[in-house]
Point group: C2
Chain length 215, copies 2
Amino acid sequence: MNKEIILRLSKYKRLLQKLKALGLERVFSNNLGDALGVTPALVRKDFSFLKITGNKRGGYSIDELIHEIDDILGKNHPLDIIVVGCGKIGTALMQYNGLARDGITVAAGFDINPERVNYSGDIPILPMEEIENFIKEKKIKVGVITVPESAATAVYDIMNKAGIKGFLNFSPLDLKCTRGLDGEEKSDCMINNINLAAELENLFYYVNRDTENNE
Amino acid sequence: MNKEIILRLSKYKRLLQKLKALGLERVFSNNLGDALGVTPALVRKDFSFLKITGNKRGGYSIDELIHEIDDILGKNHPLDIIVVGCGKIGTALMQYNGLARDGITVAAGFDINPERVNYSGDIPILPMEEIENFIKEKKIKVGVITVPESAATAVYDIMNKAGIKGFLNFSPLDLKCTRGLDGEEKSDCMINNINLAAELENLFYYVNRDTENNE
DNA sequence: TTTTTATTGTGATTCAAGTAACATTATTCC
DNA sequence: GGAATAATGTTACTTGAATCACAATAAAAA
C-alpha cells in the first residue's frame, strides 16, 4: 500500500471542497492534476485504484468524489487520537485548530510529569498509568508521540501493547514497526515519522549547496 | 538531487554520535544499514555519492564521517531560521529544544497580530513589516511557515522575495516553488511541506482498512 | 441517425531509488 | 613475502511509482 496515494487523496478532498464552495459540480482529472502538480493520468489512476468511477465525458461528480474519499479516509468513523508527551510540541498539537477542522479530535493527552496532569481541562491530560485503560476503553487506534528521544521507544511499546495501530512520531528517533516485543510477534502497525530537525537540516543542505555554487 | 539521501545523512549522524559516545571509533556500512533499515550497499552508495571514502577493510572512521556529514549539512555555517506565524505550532517550534540540540537557532518570530509582538523576549517576535529587512540584514536563508492556510501563499511570497530559499511549510496548503511571481522568473527554492492533518488521515486510512478486513 | 469531440480508464513505457552481486584492495596471518 | 580474508566501491539488475499514449465510450452536434 502506498502512502502517497492517501496523501494525495487528502489534497484532492481539500481542493474539491473549495471547488464545491465556489459552486462547481463536476471536475476533470485535468483540473485536479494541475492543482496538485501531477499528471491527469495519475489522478485517474488513483481514482481507478480506489474504485471511484467517473463519466466518460463529463468528468467526476464533486459530491460523489468527496463522499467516496471520506469513506476511504474513514471519515464516517470518529477520528479520535491521543497525544503522548505534553511538552511544547504535544501541547501545541492538542490545541491546534487544523485538526478539528478536518474532523480529528484529541481525546486526551498523557504525560509522565504529575505537574502536567489535569483532569478538568478542555482536553484532559492524564498520567501515564491510565493510558492502557483509556486506549482500550475508548478504542483509540491512532496516537501521536511527542516525548523526548530517550523515552520514545518505551512509549511506543506501551501504546502498541494497548492497541494503538497508527503512530505519528515526532521524536527524532526513527521508530520501526517491526520491533515486535515478545519474540516473533511482529505487530502490524504504521508509523509516520516526522523529524523536524532533519527537515530543517535538509533545507540547509539545499541552500548552502546553492550559494556555494554561485560563489 | 534526492531529499532522501540528506534525510538519511541526518540519521547516520545521530547514530554515529551515539556510537562515538560509546567509545567506538570505526563503523561498517553493515552497522549503519541495519540501524536505518536499508542495505549496506545503499549506505556505501550514499557515502560514495557524497565523496566520503572509507578504508577497504577497516570500514569508516566515525570522527571523519561526522565531520564530513557536518560539512555537507552545512553545520559549519550558522543555522539560523525564522518562524513566521506565532500561533500554537509556531510558538512551540520556537521553544522546541530539539532544534537547538542540533545547532539550529530561531533568530526571530514574526506575526501580523500586534498583540503577539514582543521585542524583548528570549526570541523576539517582530511585526511583519520588519521581516524583509531582518531577512536581508541577517542573511537568513531558511524559514518556517506556520500561518493559517489563507495567509500561506502571501507569506511565502514575502519571504521568497526577501531572500528565503528553504521553506518548512506547516499550512495544509501544498506550496510549490514554481510560483515565480513576475512572469517567468522561476525562483529556485526548496519547500518541505508538512501536513499534520493529512498525516493523521493517512494513519486512519490504514487502521480502518485493517480492522475492516478482520471483521 | 451519424459524426465529431472530449474525457475516462488502462496497458506500455520511462525513470529513479534501492538492492544484489562482484571486482577491488587493504589488512591480517602464516 | 604470499595467501586468505573482510571490507569497500561500483556496475548491473530489480522494482515500483509516475508518465505517456491510446483505445473505449458517452455526450454533443450536425
